[in-house]
């Protein structure tokens, strides 16, 4: 039996789809059998970010309405990993096309055959959100260190906590700029946790390579030179084995001076700040 995790945020544009793509790819890279589900019906993006948009034949709504024989027909195998699948959303329908019960049944079916089912939740708190969280047993809330995002994340966490049976929420703090945090111009992890107060899963720094990754359809977690990719890799190892996880740090650019010192063997400059 696998785990169904929903990646949600409340606010749009904070990095849910990016997180879904990266975490899914990372988990597949770690050998797990993963299905990524795009629950953003009508505004699908997950297929673009995964680079699989030209392979869509059947989608989530087709599965639910039984227009295809089973969900297996709709699952698209990833280009790079044979244990990674995508179940795309429909683009020409909207969020009333499925019901929470249908989503719950579908998730139940999917998790019997895979280790992880990761659902990309749409922004908002209406039907789209309710559909996406219906089948999930865990939630990862993604937010930016910015007041509106944190406010919306708080709302979403409140909704998740008052749901029956759904009690695991974890936080990913995305698009963090360590230098701004240090100058006091950006909310720090403590400021965010002061309000949200849920378990922190990881911190992903702002990284230009994410944009390039989306455009190319190659998630940054595969790019060894990307700092955001490194953060996602750490998060993946925390999901796979919470006990053996690396400590949560903000990945930063290492200055040339620090690099020089390291090269000269002048001791480990710890360029990490929580």
């Amino acid at each position: 039996m696998g785990k169904v995790i929903v990646i949600t945020s409340g606010k749009g544009g904070v990095g849910k789809t990016t997180a879904t793509a990266n975490l899914g790819t990372g988990l597949a890279q770690a050998g797990k059998s993963v299905v990524l589900m795009d629950a953003d019906i009508g505004l699908r993006n997950l297929d673009l970010v995964m680079g699989l948009e030209n392979r869509i034949v059947f989608d989530l709504v087709d599965v639910v309405e039984k227009k295809c024989r089973s969900f297996r027909q709709a699952l698209i195998k990833d280009k790079r990993f044979e244990n990674l699948y995508l179940l795309p959303a429909a683009q020409s329908r909207d969020k009333d096309a499925v019901s929470p019960e249908q989503m719950r049944d579908l998730c139940h079916e999917l998790k019997e055959h895979h280790d992880f089912v990761i659902i990309d939740c749409p922004a908002g708190i209406e039907n789209g959100f309710k559909n996406a969280i219906a089948g999930a047993s865990e939630a990862i809330v993604v937010t930016n260190p910015e007041v509106s995002a944190v406010r919306d994340a708080d709302r979403v966490i409140g909704l998740l906590e008052s749901q029956e049976g759904k009690c695991t929420t974890q936080l990913i703090l995305n698009r963090v700029k360590a230098d701004l945090v240090r100058k006091g111009q950006m909310l720090s992890v403590n400021d965010v946790q002061d309000i949200l107060n849920i378990k922190l899963l990881g911190i992903v720094p702002e990284d230009e390579k994410i944009l390039r990754a989306s455009n190319r359809g190659e998630p940054a977690v595969l790019d060894l030179s990307s700092r955001a990719g490194q953060a996602y890799r750490d998060i993946v190892s925390r999901l796979v084995d919470p006990a053996a996880a690396p400590a949560i740090v903000i990945q930063e650019k290492i200055s040339w001076f620090a690099r020089l010192r390291r090269f000269m063997g002048l001791g480990e400059e710890v360029a990490n700040h929580a």
Partner: protein
């Protein structure tokens, strides 16, 4: 919420503890973790009623037996089992346990509230003119709190002697809270003269998140934060033992009291309402830090001041 390696989590609710065991965790392991957690916080949890949420898990007969035996070993009273799986529900019903599909069922359960709450600290002496800290709570069937010094009811809590310095005593828990009332009305010890005789007080022991709203025809005390976007509306006082970032409205409604106050340990609210007046609070750095602040109507406008300064 207390979490133990993602498998077992505990949450305090108005009807005792809600324990959720993750569906992927084998039952013996989950019960072991639960045992460990409860043992760690023995003093806090002892004798509490407990509800077990198993989600969509389908239990076996052995699992169910193990659950019942473990509960007995831990000394916890198992109120019932919540499950969305028919198989699980049948198995537990066969063992004489109450089974519910959703947590809503527990609201009508009528379980008693937790005992053994520590008494609230006596507050600083306040002048006769300003409102005193929250009045003693009373569920609707109890007689209203009489003048200070008398015993309202033999079974329930005693009033504290009128002289200052007397320790408030923790009261015995009230019987079933009426199902229609918003989250639990629990007894809070009385300490000084009552500003609003007969007023009920609602005690909320958790943080209010954005978008959550509480309304009560009486006073409201919150042991937790009120996050931005949350709303608290009381006909009496609003006391926040934490950060107040959301909107608090004291003295609300037709029967709202103009003498009502809003008190918070950390007052970060940008807007506070008392009666039918709205006050916009300027966030001045350094003024309201590390000190409890009280907002009330003074000279026809909402004003804030440091709480407990003989104000």
């Amino acid at each position: 919420m207390i979490s133990n390696k993602d498998h077992v989590s505990l949450r305090g609710t108005r009807n005792g503890i809600l324990v959720s065991i993750s569906e992927n965790c084998p039952m013996p392991e989950g019960l072991e973790q639960l045992k460990a957690t409860l043992h760690q916080r023995r003093a806090f949890f002892a004798g509490s009623p407990l509800s077990l949420d198993l989600g969509w898990r389908e239990v076996t007969e052995q699992d169910a037996d193990l659950v019942i035996v473990s509960m007995r070993e831990m000394g916890m009273r198992l109120l019932g089992v919540i499950s969305t799986s028919q198989i699980t529900r049948h198995i537990f019903e066969a063992r004489g346990l109450k089974v519910i599909i959703g947590t809503l069922g527990l609201a009508r359960h009528g379980a008693r509230t937790r005992q053994g709450k520590p008494p609230l600290e006596p507050s600083a002496p306040v002048a006769a003119t300003s409102p005193a800290p929250p009045a003693k709570a009373a569920p609707t069937h109890r007689p209203p709190a009489g003048p200070v010094g008398t015993v309202a009811d033999e079974d329930e809590s005693e009033e504290v002697a009128p002289s200052s310095g007397a320790d408030p005593r923790s009261s015995s828990p009230p019987p079933t809270a009426p199902p229609t009332a918003p989250p639990s009305a629990q007894a809070a010890p009385a300490s000084r003269a009552l500003p609003t005789p007969g007023a009920d007080t609602m005690l909320i022991r958790r943080t209010l998140r954005s978008g959550q709203r509480v309304q009560f025809p009486g006073n409201i005390v919150i042991m937790g934060d009120v996050n931005a976007g949350a709303e608290v509306e009381a006909e009496g006082d609003v006391i926040v033992l934490g950060n107040l970032r959301g909107t608090a409205h004291a003295g609300a409604g037709v029967s709202g009291k103009k003498e009502a106050v809003v008190v918070a340990l950390n007052f970060h609210a940008t807007q506070v309402r008392i009666g039918d007046l709205i006050g916009f609070v300027q966030a001045t750095k350094g003024f309201h830090q590390n000190a409890a602040v009280m907002a009330r109507i003074q000279d026809g406008a909402v004003a804030t001041c440091l709480y407990g300064n003989g104000s």
